[in-house]
């Protein structure tokens, strides 16, 4: 009964490939997020969806495309992977109430691009 789950946990792939990471939350939250933690350990927000609507889209290359089929799921598809995409990607969710609310994070997906 994990609150926020991500698959896969590890992903090793070649440059140029396309890959997807899936995220699901069972907390009943209406807002979901994708964060990237790079080698310098910065946790930077990439995208956020509220009720399946994109509300945050930081300066992320358009090779990254989030998709939210419903409130409980937010997937991240990455086209033409590059070496610099290697990082840990965290999904999170919260209940928005006029302010972000406490965010609950998934365990992370460790992406290594060779």
């Amino acid at each position: 009964d994990t609150a926020v789950s991500q698959t896969p946990k590890y992903l090793v792939t070649q440059m140029g490939n396309d890959k997807s990471i899936k995220c699901e939350q069972n907390l009943g939250h209406d807002t979901m997020y994708w964060y990237k933690q790079d080698s310098k350990k910065f946790l930077k927000i990439m995208f956020s969806y509220n009720n399946k609507e994109l509300i945050i889209n930081e300066t992320v290359p358009n090779r990254f495309s989030p998709k939210s089929p419903d409130k409980a799921h937010l997937n991240l598809h990455i086209n033409s992977l590059e070496l610099g995409d290697s990082a840990v990607y965290f999904c999170a969710s919260s209940q928005y109430s006029g302010a972000p609310g406490t965010q609950y994070f998934g365990p992370g997906t460790r992406l290594l691009v060779l």
Binding site: V4, Y33, K41, F42, I56, A99, P100, T102, F105, P107
Partner: protein, 113 residues
């Protein structure tokens, strides 16, 4: 331009003593702050929060202090335990109408037995 800074990348403390983790911010619009704890190979887990209408919030061994004039907050852990060894992130948001938090770079706390 890092709006939330944790200037100490690491901190070592003896078990039973107080751990003080610091966080500075530059955006005066920030009005809600959180602390997260992160173990290796896991996602960050929420620890404690504070709103700008308060200057202190306490939860068991964890207390967060907010000094708005100095744009500074700190997390106190008393007494520190070996299980507290983790990376601690502070995060800030500009409150109503915003959806995102800005995270600091983290401080690695090591509690020595």
């Amino acid at each position: 331009d890092q709006q939330v800074k944790q200037n100490s990348p690491s901190l070592s403390v003896q078990e039973g003593r107080i751990s003080i983790l610091n966080c500075d911010y530059t955006n005066s619009m920030f009005d809600y702050f959180l602390w997260y704890k992160k173990y290796p190979a896991e996602g960050p887990t929420f620890l404690i929060s504070i709103s700008s209408i308060k200057d202190k919030n306490e939860d068991g061994r964890f207390t967060v202090f907010l000094n708005k004039s100095a744009k500074h907050l700190s997390l106190h852990i008393v007494p520190s335990q070996p299980g507290d060894s983790a990376v601690y992130f502070c995060a800030a948001s500009a409150g109503a109408g915003t959806y995102k938090y800005i995270f600091g770079t983290g401080t690695r706390l090591k509690v020595l037995a």
